[in-house]
């Protein structure tokens, strides 16, 4: 088992290094094939791991490959912790990565930096696997930073485009903000248990007396630590207000958007919270915070998607919105439900992105949906796949999205607190919004008339592009049916979360009769009325709606908020440099003292004229004065 687990990341690292360092004599196609086959072998190995886990009796594989750092009782190992949770995640990551590898061979074939691209995505997959497999927080953090780094590199893949460079810098900086909090959270957890190791931490959790610990800003210790860790997750999983990097990251190549910015990396935050679930079980404040953040992200980011005109950005905002659903589920401690949505979302969101990539390729790198339309007959396979993806995301009954999204809404309703009820309402409206923007995208892109020029030029892509789409489409449709696996999924060292589930048929019946179906129907009619016949501007007839549209179009000014705060920071630092450093330290002390001495000596200089008679006079004069004083005293 250990050798298999070791081989999974090693193969990916090897792929990255081989492709990255290979000479020009290795042609593009073969390097793509080598890379893909290495990822494929990793995928096979991970499936073997999954089967082993599920055939054994709740066994947990845990060990260190080696001790990385060992000083004075501080032991940091590189190891693995494989339970049902992480083995499913392994398979998902590797599967999406494999599909994207295959797709990229077709999508990137005209790119000059083909090999660099493959090297990066293999490195990305390696980092992600490192994160998922890790048995301690430090290894998790290494993977966490690794995926952040590769994300940076890939957003800026077209490094000659200035917008790409700006976008990757933005992504990197925003993620640094989160990482700073994340590492503080890790340190807090460490100081509580004297260990970074998951198993040690969770086993000692009972022996730590939490009520005796210090409080910070009125929060108890574990609340605060969890909050810090979650802020890290907010940056990585693009939650309000640290979501601003994700829409911009669409500057990267489309397969990357599918792999990193939809299916895997952004779910790292969800995975981390699920991994540390035993801590989050103990904190009420932080989970409420998570719930609020998640629900508002799900609703408000979905609203932005309605007004976006870039096909990738619409899907990007829908990703943020769907991540909001997952985070909301975390907020009521329903980790497995959240993980289930992560699982299904990974397939249908990757599918949507890859379809978008196919459309973009067919239209010669046009991403503006206003110049699309009527592609249904021209791109039948892409259309069918996109339709499936859309049905999944809007939660059409019997697709995977239906199972996972309904489950989130369901558990939200069962929680029966005020805050979870508000969140439920927001998520329900969010579901309506999801339906509207998803169908809008489909209607505008695939229905009506083509608005981009000559329709004859458009043709379907080659099989290497289409096969991944079909593969993902099949999984998008079917992945929801293993809902039982997730309902019974044990959280590490914690047991199974109690979720109401009485068999598939009852669940489906219940799901269809739930309010979510109502939002689906309502959303369908709204979207059909507004966008099916290209009447996008129907909204403009109503002044109130125009105002709302204006507000949403500003994207709630989060970018401005960041710009403003960086501006304040800049002004403060300018003030410190100019007024304090240059003004006081330099001008008053460092340069000021010699200046004063100099000017004083200039005055003194005038007394030494160099003329003998002046000196003689001053000697005699002072003698006379001194003697005079003495004389006066004596007398």
């Amino acid at each position: 088992m250990e050798s298999i687990l070791l081989l999974i990341p090693i193969l990916l690292l090897a792929s990255s290094i081989i492709i990255g360092l290979s000479s020009d004599s290795l042609n593009k196609f073969y390097s793509g094939v080598i890379s893909t086959s290495l990822v494929f072998s990793s995928l096979i190995l991970s499936i073997i791991v999954l089967i082993k886990i599920y055939s054994s009796n709740d066994e947990i594989y845990y060990d260190n490959f080696y001790d990385w750092i060992s000083i004075n009782g501080l032991n940091i190992g590189i190891g693995y912790l494989i339970d049902k949770f992480s083995s499913i995640m392994l398979v998902v990551v590797l599967f999406i990565s494999f599909v994207v590898h295959v797709y990229s061979i077709g999508y990137m074939k005209h790119e000059e930096d083909f090999k660099r691209f493959f090297s990066y995505i293999a490195l990305f997959t390696f980092s992600m696997i490192l994160l998922v497999m890790s048995n301690n927080l430090i290894q998790l953090f290494i993977g966490w930073e690794g995926v952040g780094l590769v994300s940076y590199l890939l957003i800026g893949f077209f490094y000659k485009k200035s917008s790409a460079i700006k976008a990757n810098l933005k992504a990197f900086l925003i993620n640094r903000i989160g990482d700073m909090f994340f590492i503080l959270g890790i340190v807090m957890i460490y100081s509580l248990f004297d260990s970074f190791d998951y198993r040690t931490m969770f086993l000692n959790l009972d022996s730590v007396n939490l009520s005796n610990l210090e409080t910070y800003f009125g929060l108890n210790y574990i609340d605060f630590a969890c909050l810090l860790l979650f802020i890290g997750a907010m940056a990585k999983s693009a939650q309000i207000p640290l979501h601003v990097w994700l829409p911009d990251s669409m500057e990267g190549p489309t397969p990357i958007s599918a792999l990193i910015h939809a299916a895997t990396m952004v779910t790292a935050g969800i995975f981390m919270v699920g991994r540390l679930a035993p801590f989050y079980e103990l904190t009420e404040f932080t989970t409420d915070f998570i719930l609020i953040i998640g629900a508002s992200t799900a609703l408000f980011m979905g609203l932005i998607a309605i007004f976006e005109n870039d096909i990738k950005k619409v899907i990007a905002y829908s990703t943020i919105s769907q991540l909001g659903y997952m985070v909301s589920a975390l907020g009521i401690n329903a980790y497995t439900v959240s993980f289930f949505h992560l699982f299904t979302h990974a397939f249908f969101k990757a599918l949507l992105f890859l379809c978008a990539g196919s459309v973009i390729m067919s239209l010669h790198h046009n991403q503006d949906i206003r110049k699309m339309g009527g592609l249904k007959s021209k791109l039948p396979v892409t259309y069918a796949c996109f339709l499936i993806g859309t049905l999944c995301i809007i939660g059409f009954p019997l697709t995977s999205g239906f199972f996972s999204k309904d489950l989130i809404l369901e558990v939200m309703l069962y929680e029966e607190t005020t805050i979870s009820f508000i969140a439920y309402i927001m998520l329900l409206i969010g579901a309506l919004v999801t339906t509207i923007y998803s169908l809008r995208l489909m209607f505008i892109v695939f229905y009506g008339k083509y608005r981009g020029g000559d329709v004859e030029e458009i043709s379907e892509q080659s099989n290497i592009i289409l096969i991944p789409l079909i593969l993902l489409a099949v999984l998008s449709l079917t992945s929801g049916y293993i809902i039982k696996v997730f309902v019974d999924l044990p959280i590490f060292m914690y047991g199974i979360k109690d979720i109401h589930y009485d068999g598939m048929v009852t669940y489906i019946e219940h799901g269809i009769l739930s309010p979510a179906t109502l939002t689906l129907v309502l959303g369908f009619f709204i979207a059909k009325k507004l966008y099916k016949d290209n009447k996008e501007f129907l909204f403009l007839e109503n002044n109130f709606l125009v105002e709302i549209k204006k507000v949403i179009k500003t994207k709630y000014k989060f970018d401005e908020l960041f710009l403003y705060s960086s501006d304040v920071l800049k002004k403060t630092s300018i003030f410190v440099t100019h007024k304090l450093d240059i003004g006081i330290i330099e001008n008053v002390f460092v340069n000021g003292v010699p200046k004063k001495i100099n000017s004083f000596s200039k005055i003194l200089k005038k007394t030494s004229s160099g003329y003998l008679y002046h000196y003689a006079f001053s000697i005699v004069f002072s003698l006379v004065v001194i003697f005079g004083i003495i004389l006066v005293r004596v007398l």
Binding site: G610, Y613, V620
Partner: protein, 101 residues
Amino acid sequence: MITMSHYLVFSALLFCISVAGIFINRKNILLLLMSIELMLLAVNTNFIVFSHYSNDITGQVFVFFILAVAAAESAIGLAIIVSLFRIRNSLEINLINNLKG
């Protein structure tokens, strides 16, 4: 009758003249040297006067020493002046202000 105070006034006058010579003279450095000699003579006069009135010969002995030293001193001074003249071709005091700050 010439009393001690006459002598003392005389020597004080002599001293003042020499001091004035140092201040007022701005022409020639040679005169400066002479003023200094005059200053010494004024002091010597004091020595002799006090020695005479207090019947102590020591003071007059000192005068001989001082005169001898003064002679040597003015010889050095003259030597300096000669070499100064060779360098500058002039002995004007106004022009000698190398120590100006």
